[in-house]
């Protein structure tokens, strides 16, 4: 066994850390598939305004309503005769944006809090962790209702709602990661050199906690997309006629008996996106955690 570890560590020296991660990620078929899907989706989401006539997405044609999938309308049409294919495609914009911004929000709030809690310990930690407990006891739907109600229903507020409800997650993960490195020698050394706590946290501790946080981020983007669609499934969400996937599902819910394709495709879209994020997240975790190397 010792031979093996040695050889691996020797290999490490040849590449930069990023290169090393990429090297391992490249070999992970799942992760690359996921990455491929995401790249395509991002490309579509970013450019769709340039090549797709909005009329196709929001234009109604009541006489064409509720058509089953056919060669003209690949995913069928909804109760207002809008083409579901383009609505689902256009919806990628919202879902991706929501996933990312929401997680950025929770990162921005959760990581510093978790780092402070883990680093200082004692009463500060107790306080932060109790507040975290309190927040995680609130159903995210209530959080959603309140935030969307107070600030109005908009895409950003939905992101905020989803983001805030996953803050506790990041606090816990970061704290746990900080706890494992805060007694490392290099931290002690920095402390002995009289560096400020803030400097130590940002220069020495956080960079060494990155991998669980990065992995968690990818996986959280996935769950943020699901949470956002759950919120809009329960009737809180994005302003019509924006075709967010959760909203499409809600609309389709009424027609699930006779026209289940109205629910099938947006659901599949959510699933594929989330799957892609999860695959990349898993791949990153494997690539970043040398313990799990095969």
């Amino acid at each position: 066994m010792s031979t093996e570890t040695m050889s691996v560590s020797r290999k490490y020296r040849k590449r930069s850390k990023l290169g090393e991660i990429w090297h391992h990620l490249k070999k992970n078929k799942g992760a690359m598939t996921g990455l491929g899907i995401l790249i395509v989706m991002f490309a579509v989401a970013l450019t769709i305004d340039f090549w797709l006539d909005m009329e196709k997405v929001i234009g109604q044609n009541i006489s064409q309503k509720l058509q089953a999938p056919n060669s003209l309308h690949w995913f069928g049409t909804d109760e207002m005769g809008r083409d579901m294919f383009w609505r689902v495609v256009y919806g990628s914009r919202y879902s991706l944006a929501i996933g990312f911004v929401a997680v950025m929000v929770s990162l921005a709030v959760g990581v510093p809090l978790g780092a402070v809690a883990g680093y200082y310990g004692g009463k500060v930690e107790g306080l932060i962790m109790r507040i975290t407990d309190i927040f995680s006891a609130i159903p995210s739907i209530l959080m959603g209702v309140v935030i969307v109600s107070i600030l109005g229903s908009s895409t950003f507020n939905l992101m905020l709602a989803v983001g805030i409800s996953s803050v506790p997650n990041f606090v816990r993960i970061t704290r746990a990661a900080v706890l494992t490195v805060k007694n490392e020698e290099y931290v002690e050394a920095a402390r002995a050199l009289g560096k400020t706590d803030l400097y130590i946290i940002f220069r020495h501790i956080l960079p060494n906690c990155l991998s669980p946080i990065i992995v968690q981020t990818t996986l959280r983007v996935a769950s943020a997309i699901v949470s956002a669609s759950s919120l809009s499934f329960l009737g809180l969400g994005i302003k019509p006629p924006s075709p967010e996937w959760g909203a499409l599902l809600t609309a389709g819910k009424t027609y699930i008996r006779g026209y289940s394709y109205l629910c099938l495709f947006p659901g599949l879209a959510i699933m594929i996106t989330v799957l892609a994020f999860n695959m990349v997240g898993d791949g990153l975790r494997d690539a970043m955690d040398p313990k799990l190397k095969r």
């Binding site: 609130i138 309140v146 769950s223 949470s227 289940s260 699933m271 799957l275």
Partner: protein, 325 residues
């Protein structure tokens, strides 16, 4: 151990105070009050009177104070909407929620742990790859969507299973339990697998093998018990989530559980019901956590020692698995 449990329970107090305050403030910030819901056709004066009666003419903190005074006497308040004790309301809904939580967790334990073990021991094999793909799919499916699709398939098309409510006993439990269980199964399979993979590398398994312990026993006895901690953590967390009511799933299946009660109460701005139920949920989660910790102690003698000293509690924080909706 006792000390530790008492400490855990004492910790409930600040959390309860915080949670209820947060709920009060949040519901106060949301537009509309319960008076708007029930006072549809009332005149302005009558509404004013009702506002006064329910304390809506004073600040949210006043109402919170009144509520907490009641809570001190063990009173969870009375629902404005149903005019029933929140305690009674909660207890009416709890069995359905527990049933669902129990069934889904049971399903997950029975299916996922063996699968996860198999995947780990035959690492890289067909079972491993298939089960990991399945688990990823399970993780990636939005709960409510899966529920809807299951309804379409099993209730609409095949007509095998009921689609709503808890009226048909075991049969009506299957679909919602499976819906909630899928995510849990996925997480649990992954956790079991990765935890087992960690453990399977451990030196003490080599020791066990070197003394001639049959491979099956190495896995089932020596490895599994060591891998159990993260597995139990996940089960505990999920059970905790589930007793809070699987909001969306309960909604899809019209399941008369706590989650739907809370959602209805939120929509009706029934502050007492929302607060009472969330407090009870917090308490339930705490109980589950304590039980989980006790189970930890049974499984791992090192943790037992830690609880005994009760000073530095270091909960195993190793939680894996991704999206939990």
């Amino acid at each position: 151990m006792h000390k530790y449990i008492i400490k855990r329970i004492l910790m409930l107090i600040p959390v309860t105070i915080g949670v209820s305050l947060l709920v009060f403030v949040m519901l106060d910030l949301a537009p509309g009050t319960v008076v708007d819901i029930i006072g549809g056709e009332m005149t302005t004066e009558e509404i004013a009177e009702l506002n006064h009666e329910l304390g809506y003419d004073r600040s949210v903190f006043y109402r919170y104070f009144i509520y907490m005074k009641g809570l001190l006497h063990g009173d969870l308040g009375t629902s404005y909407i149903y005019k029933v004790d929140v305690w009674k309301l909660y207890m009416q809904r709890l069995p359905a929620t527990l049933q669902l939580a129990g069934a889904s967790v049971f399903l997950a334990i029975v299916l996922s742990i063996p699968l996860g073990i198999k995947a780990a021991t035959k690492h890289g094999g067909v079972t491993d790859n298939l089960s990991m793909v399945a688990a990823l799919l399970g993780l990636s499916m939005p709960n409510f969507w899966l529920g809807m699709m299951l309804i379409v398939l099993f209730s609409n098309q095949l007509g095998w299973l009921p689609s709503y409510g808890a009226t048909d006993g075991f049969k009506s439990l299957i679909l919602p339990a499976f819906t909630i269980g899928t995510g849990l199964m996925a997480t649990l399979t992954r956790t079991t697998r990765s935890s087992m993979l960690d453990v399977l590398r451990a030196d003490y398994l080599r020791t066990a093998r070197s003394k001639g312990v049959p491979e099956k026993k190495v896995v089932k006895k020596h490895a599994l018990k060591n891998a159990l901690i993260p597995i139990i953590t996940i089960i505990g967390t999920q059970l905790g989530n589930a007793v809070g009511g699987a909001v969306v799933t309960e909604n899809v299946f019209a399941w008369p559980g706590v989650g739907r009660l809370i959602i209805d109460a939120i929509n009706q701005r029934d502050t007492n019901t929302v607060t009472g139920c969330i407090i009870m949920t917090t308490v339930m989660i705490c109980i589950i956590q304590v039980v989980v910790d006790v189970v930890y102690a049974f499984v791992d003698p090192r943790l037992r020692a830690q609880y005994a000293s009760a000073k530095t509690r270091k909960k195993p924080e190793k939680v894996q698995g991704g999206a939990a909706a």
